[in-house]
């Protein structure tokens, strides 16, 4: 069952303040990297929700994000809808698509589940690649960013946009926690631990999987809408399975099934990519080496390693402080 530990709170505070500090100190290029991290973080949160807590390792999440981006751009530019309405509709579309994919794939497990989601993802990729209405392989130009003029914020300023993405990421994180703590999320955890038993207890397993996959799809759609606004141009590349694969790498690198871990993973991955990208065009090679090292260490990613190493110690520390306070209070009462 998902729980917030003192260590997880500490990591969240660190990440959050790191993001805010970067937003106020970084130059243009740093700001772009920050925004890239924040959008990727929303996508990997969505992926961790299904993969880390439901055992549903999806290779369709890049495509769901791309679908969200395309739906948003098409509805806003070709449909002439207000960007907010277009964004809401795009998220609803990805949620519905996610639900259907989840419902269809619910009966398969492990490698078969991965294959099935891969097939759905690639279907989406081929469609947008071929379809002239959506610009084919040329992609589409976006409608620009949300207008927050009514509260005096100009999102075309890269700092404001980074902070906006941070706020959305914060909301996405809270939503993920709320889902995991709901009856639905608890059932999902039960399904991951023992699907057969959950069914024998009377749970309609496929519905739980489909519902969570739909919610996760909505989250991926939000990442897509933000990505479309960030670079103001979208191409079918976004739906390619390698985007889903990269998201999976980030989740595993950070720590599957921890929510906080994937955020750490997103930071590590994007920073590694840019820093190594300066030095060599073979940066993927080094990310691969890091990933192999993390997997071989048998820890659950970077954050899993930190948790295994320091988690018990911080828990003990908190406990000691608590007992000390209890003793003090007892002494006061006496």
């Amino acid at each position: 069952m998902f729980r917030h530990t003192p260590l997880r709170y500490a990591a969240l505070v660190l990440l959050m303040s790191g993001a805010v500090i970067t937003a106020f100190t970084a130059g243009y290029f740093g700001m772009e990297i920050l925004t890239e991290i924040l959008i990727l973080a929303i996508l990997v949160l969505a992926l961790d929700l299904v993969a880390g807590f439901g055992g549903m390792v999806s290779l369709a999440h890049g495509a769901l994000m791309g679908l969200g981006a395309y739906a948003f751009v098409a509805l806003a530019t070709k449909g002439g809808l207000d960007p907010w309405v277009a964004a809401s509709a795009a998220v609803a579309i990805t949620a519905g698509t996610g639900w259907v994919i989840g419902a269809i794939c619910a009966r398969s497990h492990g490698i078969y589940f991965i294959k099935a989601t891969l097939a759905f993802g690639q279907m989406g990729y081929s469609y947008f690649f071929e379809q002239p209405f959506f610009g084919g392989d040329d992609g589409l130009v976006g409608p620009g960013r949300f207008d927050l003029g009514f509260i005096g914020i100009d999102l075309n300023d890269s700092r404001s946009f980074a902070l906006f993405c941070l706020a959305i990421l914060g909301l996405a994180y809270l939503a993920a926690v709320a889902i995991l703590r709901s009856g639905l999320g608890r059932s999902l955890t039960g399904v991951m631990h023992n699907e057969k038993r959950m069914r024998a207890l009377g749970l309609t397993v496929w519905r739980v999987k489909a519902d969570v996959f739909g919610l996760s799809g909505a989250m991926a759609g939000i990442a897509g809408v933000l990505a479309a606004q960030h670079i103001m141009f979208i191409s079918p590349k976004m739906l390619h399975w390698t985007v889903s694969g990269e998201a999976l790498v980030v989740v595993i690198l950070g720590g599957l099934g921890t929510l906080v871990g994937p955020l750490v993973g997103a930071v590590a991955f994007v920073v590694l990519k840019h820093e190594l990208g300066h030095v060599t065009t073979y940066w993927h090679l080094f990310v691969g080496v890091v990933l192999i090292a993390v997997v071989m260490s048998r820890a659950n990613g970077i954050f899993g390693f930190i948790e295994a190493r320091f988690g018990p110690r911080t828990d003990r520390m908190i406990q000691t402080i608590q007992t000390r306070n209890d003793v003090k209070e007892a002494a006061k009462d006496a």
Partner: protein, 247 residues
């Protein structure tokens, strides 16, 4: 309460269930005896819906449930425990029970409430934990409790769905005589209106808890009656001990 009519099942050339008809009244406690390979568990799996019978019908509370999937039968009050522990290993005893109770409470699909915190679920968890003596281990993870305690939890999880009929597949499998005695007491303490169907190897336990006894051999019902009759039955002795005499 639970009835099977002319149930028949073959796996290829192996005829595992031969025209089995059984009827359990509400509150009845029936023990199924039979040597290894007699088809006891297969019969169970057909009742709960994990295996479909070739022919025949299964009725729960008077309604035909033969075509219903496992989950739907469970929601109508048919619960089972497994011969081999089928628990949520990474979770605590409390969470194991709460997952089962939340399905019963209708909170397993909600987004707006934490099922584990609901008063109804907590009440069931406490009640069941007391019934199967799990209170001392309530916060322990499944991986931290002994095999015997896991057997108790196995039954506890099945009970936490508040079933009308509980099917227990060898609840005392693998535990010592001391624990088996504890299980007598546990079963004796369960509500009298709960219908129980228990697969058992231990004859003493069977005679101690059963209202009625069914004996299966080669997929066929060869005895159906009261424990007293079973005790003196030559047929039963032959089935269980015959192989020894032949050897």
């Amino acid at each position: 309460m639970l009835e099977t009519r002319n149930l028949d099942k073959s796996f290829g050339a192996v005829h595992v269930t031969r025209n089995v008809s059984l009827k359990l009244e509400r509150g009845e406690r029936r023990v199924i005896l039979g040597p290894n390979g007699a088809g006891k568990t297969t019969l169970f799996n057909q009742r709960v819906g994990e295996i479909a019978p070739d022919t025949g019908q299964i009725l729960l509370a008077g309604e035909d449930v033969t075509a219903l999937p496992v989950a739907k039968r469970a929601r109508r009050g048919l619960s089972r425990s497994y011969q081999k522990n089928t628990l949520f290993d990474g979770l605590t005893v409390e969470e194991n029970l709460a997952l089962a109770a939340s399905v019963h409470a209708g909170l397993s699909m909600t987004l707006w409430r934490d099922a584990l915190q609901s008063a109804q679920v907590r009440e069931i968890v406490e009640e069941v934990a007391n019934q199967v003596n799990l209170m001392p281990y309530i916060h322990a993870k499944v991986s931290e409790i002994s095999y015997g305690v896991r057997r108790q939890l196995e039954v506890g999880v099945a009970l936490a769905t508040k079933p009308l009929v509980l099917l227990m597949d060898e609840p005392t499998s693998g535990v010592g005589p001391e624990m088996a005695k504890g299980f007598h007491d546990l079963l004796a303490g369960l509500p009298r209106d709960l219908t129980l169907l228990i697969i058992e190897h231990d004859m003493d336990l069977a005679f101690a808890v059963a209202d009625t006894i069914t004996v299966l051999n080669y997929g066929e019902v060869v005895f159906d009656g009261l424990p007293e009759q079973a005790r003196g039955s030559k047929l039963l002795r032959d089935i269980y001990l015959g192989a020894w005499e032949d050897a």
